[in-house]
């Protein structure tokens, strides 16, 4: 019986169970812990400025372009590939958007076209990798050069292209409309957060009921309560903080929606299964009748689209496209995924965690900036954090393998 299963685990006691769970799922929790430590540390080091509503808003908006690209990269890394071209791809596609709009193309069409370009460019890379068998490292390195060339080609005449379209610029700088206020706070933001929190509670309870119905082992109710409570508390604090300033930004919403869609695809659809299958054991996937080549092409096409979206977000944030945009983005993006627990050998990874990984990276940049640490030190600190995260991950995996 189900209750028996629960009781059996409760016998360990709450703390023992918590420890057990932490040890089992360290990969999933590690970056939350890292993020928490970083937040506390910067909160102290920056004299509370780091956690001010203004800075939190800023931080979240800064993360946007890295986060969406990390979402795409997660799939690429799961299937044991890599994409080095994403930085300049974002730069180039961002410039394309700016130029299209400058030459009179309506903003909606411009965005659509740029996303389409992204998909096509990605699919071409996927074809070269999946069909011709050129290693991803080489193919995408070649495309890094190509995109870099294209970027300087399209910006050659004009230099920086300024975007005047308000709708476009609002994507990364705008907030939800100020429809109403609750005690001086941004009403719509509070409403959205309340809705999301309610949804989380409902989904958790439904999932739990389902697990119980099929008599799967469950974590104890009290522990689930603590976990859920912590999550809700965090969201609550965030909503209070954001609503006291300008409210929820469009870019947070966009990142959330993209993340949810990808999470859904990976968890619930056939395609998602195939991605984990190909990444976990390519040979087994082939013998199970999966078309490995198409999976590879999909992963790169989706990455191309996310690069284009990242480019749009970045261009929108700067309100202009520059000839050097995108340089080095790929480093932040790939680092985000690995910090978020995507396995360096493929087969394992979650988009939600990669997005958290992106937050860890931008929090570092942001916090160090606030402290007035120079850019050179920032890179060194990032490098150390990155290697620590991956080393930790590899070690925890090794332990499990025994």
């Amino acid at each position: 019986m189900t209750t028996k299963v629960v009781n059996k685990q409760q016998r360990f006691g709450l703390f023992a169970e918590m420890r057990h769970l932490l040890r089992q799922n360290i990969r999933n929790y590690a970056m939350y812990i890292a993020l928490f430590i970083i937040f506390i540390l910067f909160y102290i080091l920056t004299d509370t400025t780091f956690l001010s509503a203004r800075n939190i808003t800023n931080l979240v908006n800064q993360t946007g372009y890295v986060a969406v690209m990390a979402v795409g990269m997660t799939i690429v890394l799961i299937i044991q590939q890599i994409d080095l071209s994403v930085g300049y791809a974002a730069g180039f596609f961002g410039a394309c958007a700016a130029i299209l709009m400058a030459s009179g193309v309506p903003v909606g069409l411009a965005i659509f076209l740029v996303l389409l370009f992204g998909v096509i460019a990605g699919a071409i890379q996927g074809l070269i990798i999946g069909k011709l068998g050129v290693p991803a490292f080489v193919t995408t390195l070649a495309f890094l050069f190509i995109f870099r060339g294209l970027l300087s080609m399209v910006t050659e005449g004009s230099g920086t292209v300024v975007v005047t379209n308000e709708f476009f610029n609002n994507i990364s700088n705008g907030f939800l409309p100020e429809l109403f206020y609750i005690q001086g706070r941004h009403g719509l933001t509070l409403a959205v957060f309340t809705l999301v929190m309610a949804l989380i509670i409902v989904l958790q309870i439904r999932k739990r009921q389902e697990m119980r119905r099929y008599q799967f082992p469950l974590i104890s109710t009290s522990l689930m309560g603590i976990g859920l409570g912590l999550l809700l508390l965090l969201l609550g604090l965030l909503s209070v903080s954001l609503s006291g300033y300008n409210g929820l930004s469009w870019s947070i919403l966009l990142v959330a929606v993209i993340t949810l869609i990808y999470d859904f695809v990976l968890k619930k659809t056939k395609l998602g299964r195939y991605i984990y299958g190909v990444g976990g054991n390519r040979e087994a996937a082939t013998l199970a009748g999966i078309n490995v080549r198409n999976t590879v092409i999909f992963a790169f096409a989706s990455m191309g689209m996310m690069s284009a979206l990242g480019g749009i977000l970045y261009t929108s944030r700067l309100r202009s496209a520059t000839p050097t945009a995108g340089a080095g983005f790929e480093l932040d993006v790939i680092a985000s995924c690995f910090i978020g627990g995507v396995s360096t050998t493929g087969g394992i990874g979650k988009v939600v965690n990669s997005v958290i990984g992106a937050f860890v990276i931008t929090s570092l940049t942001n916090g160090l900036n606030l402290m007035g640490v120079g850019i050179s030190y920032q890179y060194i600190v990032k490098g150390i954090i990155f290697i620590t995260a991956v080393a930790f991950d590899v070690r925890s995996q090794g332990r499990k393998a025994i």
Partner: protein, 512 residues
């Protein structure tokens, strides 16, 4: 000075759950060619790995004496220093390096602090002459044929002044002429005072070249035969190699009249690019509905190649001829997907390498082969998936904490059941099981056999590939015996005998 250059006394080696060697004694005289024979899994390779230090001292029990001195090798380097060299079946070389670089890899000739390239080339030329090769030492290894690569490996052992050279199945991937050449080279080396230990399945070769033959069976020494002057013949060796009691470890299956032909292969030939070898030669077979057909053969006979090429995994093998019919209809199988759709399922020989996604759970692995049947729109119907996986878990008695346990953490037998479940979920008409009981314990074997009986009773047919003769005899309605890419015999149940099968598998009738 003792007569024996090498003595291994009371060697016992345990692997988890299996006793691979049980008090094995092995003595080699100075300057002789000593052949080690036995069925697959008899313990030959394990014994040689102990001798060459691949299994280090302490991981086994027993003693090794070289020239009367006790030796405790903890790695290959130490055995090499004593003068023992091993040439494995899978040659270990760096393909993109030249011959001379490979030969001196790890013990380069130095001039001061730099590598003396010229001296290495000169030395290599001498060594190559010793193995009767007349090729440029600066040729890349990857450009050589397998037979030549093997000779280079021998030259490499000579460069290390090896006194004892161990060759594991040296002729298995060579053609007739290359084998002949290799054997006469071995005789020449012997005349120069080198001691040779050779593992081989080709009994004709063994009889013609060996001074002494040691037979291993089930991890024990059966006998050591003096083979000088053709005193021993192949049939005698086979008698020692098998000769076991048939125990009642196979579940009973009620015999049935089988008539309807389900599956037909004709004139199936394939060429493997990588080995530059015709791996399958004009194979034809039939499988009736509800029948278990076995394919027997020794390692390297081409059984797995046959299964994989049937399953549509063609890129590795170029089909040169052949037709497949299922239920009277011609099939074109270009990919595993085609095969699965047509109703053919394959469980691989090596479930960990290419059968299962070990990182994922039981449910994931069972359902991945046929997710299309679980879709609700674009979404996988989780309820249906859970019910499906749970049903298979019950039907096949897969022991796991839940269907959410990672496959990596299951025992071998249960992993194999997951592989079977995954296959059954595609509703196959024909199952190809490649070594279905390898590496699992006796109890789990019995369960797998019972499952196979259930499957054929439900009207499926099974092609069973196995290296264990007894298992094939116990389970199959009919048997094909394969040797060197050909079927050398087809036997009905009443004709089954270990001797007969082994004779066909070693193909001695044809060779004599």
């Amino acid at each position: 000075m003792t007569n024996y250059i090498l003595e291994m006394r009371d060697i016992t080696k345990n692997f988890p759950g299996v006793k691979a060697l049980d008090l094995v004694n092995f003595k080699v005289r100075r300057g002789e060619i000593h052949c080690l024979v036995g069925e697959n899994g008899a313990g030959k390779s394990t014994l040689m790995k102990i001798l060459s230090g691949i299994y280090s001292w302490g991981s086994y029990e027993g003693e090794i004496y070289c020239d009367g001195e006790p030796k405790k090798f903890s790695n290959i380097r130490e055995s090499t220093e004593t003068g023992i060299a091993i040439i494995s079946q899978e040659l270990a070389y760096v393909p993109e390096m030249t011959i001379f670089e490979n030969i001196f890899l790890g013990h380069e000739i130095m001039k001061g602090r730099l590598i003396d390239r010229n001296e290495q080339i000169v030395q290599t030329r001498k060594l190559l002459k010793q193995v009767r090769l007349d090729i440029n030492p600066t040729t890349k290894m990857s450009e050589l044929r397998v037979g030549t690569q093997q000779l280079v490996e021998i030259a490499k052992t000579l460069s290390k002044n090896a006194k004892i050279i161990i060759l594991d199945e040296p002729t298995s991937s060579l053609n007739e002429q290359e084998s002949e050449n290799l054997l006469s080279l071995l005789r020449e080396l012997k005349s120069k005072g080198v001691t040779l230990i050779m593992i081989s399945h080709r009994l004709k070769e063994v009889v013609s070249i060996a001074d002494t033959i040691t037979v291993l069976r089930d991890g024990m020494t059966v006998c050591s035969l003096d083979a000088r002057g053709k005193k021993v013949n192949e049939f005698e060796i086979i008698k020692y190699m098998v000769g076991r009691d048939m125990k009642n470890i196979y579940p009973h299956r009620s015999p049935k009249e089988l008539s309807e032909i389900l599956f037909e292969v004709s004139d199936w030939s394939a060429y493997e690019q990588r080995k530059q070898k015709q791996v399958l030669k004009n194979l034809s077979m039939t499988v009736k509905k509800g029948e278990i057909v076995g394919i027997a053969g020794l390692m390297g006979a081409g059984r797995t190649e046959f299964a994989l090429s049937l399953f549509g995994n063609v890129p590795r093998y170029r089909l040169t001829s052949g037709k497949v019919k299922l239920e009277g209809k011609d099939l074109t199988l270009k990919s595993p997907m085609d095969a699965i759709r047509a109703g053919i399922g394959y469980v691989t020989e090596d479930r960990k390498v290419n059968g299962l996604v070990l990182l994922q759970d039981v449910k994931f692995n069972i359902t991945i082969s046929n997710l299309s049947s679980l879709m609700k729109g674009v979404v996988i119907n989780e309820q249906k998936e859970i019910i499906t996986a749970s049903n298979y878990q019950n039907d096949l008695a897969i022991k796991s904490t839940s269907i959410h346990q990672r496959v990596r953490n299951l025992s071998g037998g249960n992993q194999q059941k997951v592989s079977l479940a995954k296959l059954l979920f595609t509703n196959p008409k024909l199952l190809i099981l490649d070594e279905p009981t390898r590496g699992i314990d006796v109890g789990a074997k019995y369960e797998i056999y019972s499952l196979m009986n259930q499957m054929v009773e439900q009207g499926m047919s099974i092609i069973m590939i196995s290296s264990e003769l007894l298992e094939l005899i116990g389970m199959c309605d009919r048997l094909y015996v394969m040797s060197d890419g050909e079927f050398t015999g087809e036997l009905g149940q009443e004709e089954f005998s270990e001797h007969g099968i082994m004779e066909m598998a070693t193909n001695i009738r044809k060779e004599i």
